[in-house]
Symmetry: C2
Subunit: 147 residues, 2 copies
């Protein structure tokens, strides 16, 4: 397992390079993203709320934005559900979301490599299969909806 969790020092270095500052909020949110692996802004807020009582959702959004610009974090859209953030060190992966219960399954991006290439050829677009989730129904929701 990669020792990928950047230290606060590393984070600070990255921030400094852009004239930005290391704040307690940034430190804590960054740690939370690394720990939670997949989380919505609200989940992150809840995760850090204990450690950092006054923090607000808008700050979480803003911090995530900064971390994303630094290339430390990315987000993916999950359909109706709020977007989820994760550390970039994770293997690139796509998400399959259950339309029934919202369960999310991660799939290695390599699985889609060939498909992505085909899509790019056909459309001329630079395709990124990881940015938006793919819809589906998990087994239990699938059987339930056979009603």
């Amino acid at each position: 397992m990669t020792e990928s969790i950047k230290s606060p020092q590393e984070l600070q270095a990255q921030l400094r390079r852009r004239g930005l500052r290391l704040t307690a909020q940034r430190e804590v949110v960054f740690a939370a993203v690394n720990e939670l692996r997949h989380a919505t802004p609200e989940q992150i807020l809840n995760a850090v709320a204990e450690e950092m009582p006054g923090i607000t959702l808008s700050t979480v959004y803003r911090v995530l934005d900064v971390l994303e610009q630094l290339g430390l974090v990315t987000h993916a859209h999950m359909g109706h559900a709020p977007m989820t953030y994760h550390a970039v060190d994770e293997h690139r992966h796509m998400h399959v979301v259950c339309e029934g219960c919202g369960a999310i399954e991660s799939v290695d991006a390599a699985t889609a490599e060939e498909f992505a290439r085909t899509l790019s050829d056909v459309t001329g677009y630079d395709v990124d299969v990881t940015h938006m989730a793919i819809a589906g129904r998990c087994r239990s929701c699938a059987s339930r909806s056979k009603a």
Copy 2:
């Protein structure tokens, strides 16, 4: 080209079967979806506004909902952009959306068939690649963002 545009009579029959009524709004919205092929609720509203001055956006949403339950229409999520509706008689297709300018490219669902099967195998989910768009960058946005 398939003569797929259901007549008002057919529409009425379908509605009746469920104890629902044929209204001017339903007729007009249904026609608009068939004509526009791909449209957001708002675009549909604009399209029918002339013919049907008083109609509101919420009515459009409700009508689309009914049409969808009747199996005449489906919708797809396009990321940030509003969802688009189209008649079910269209060839099943997926959408690739440009993150830069919002341009949408349609791709025959057959292109994704094998990939979808693989995904289903891997996840156990009943996967539907058409329901959510795939992110990408169109050629012009891709070159522009090389800056």
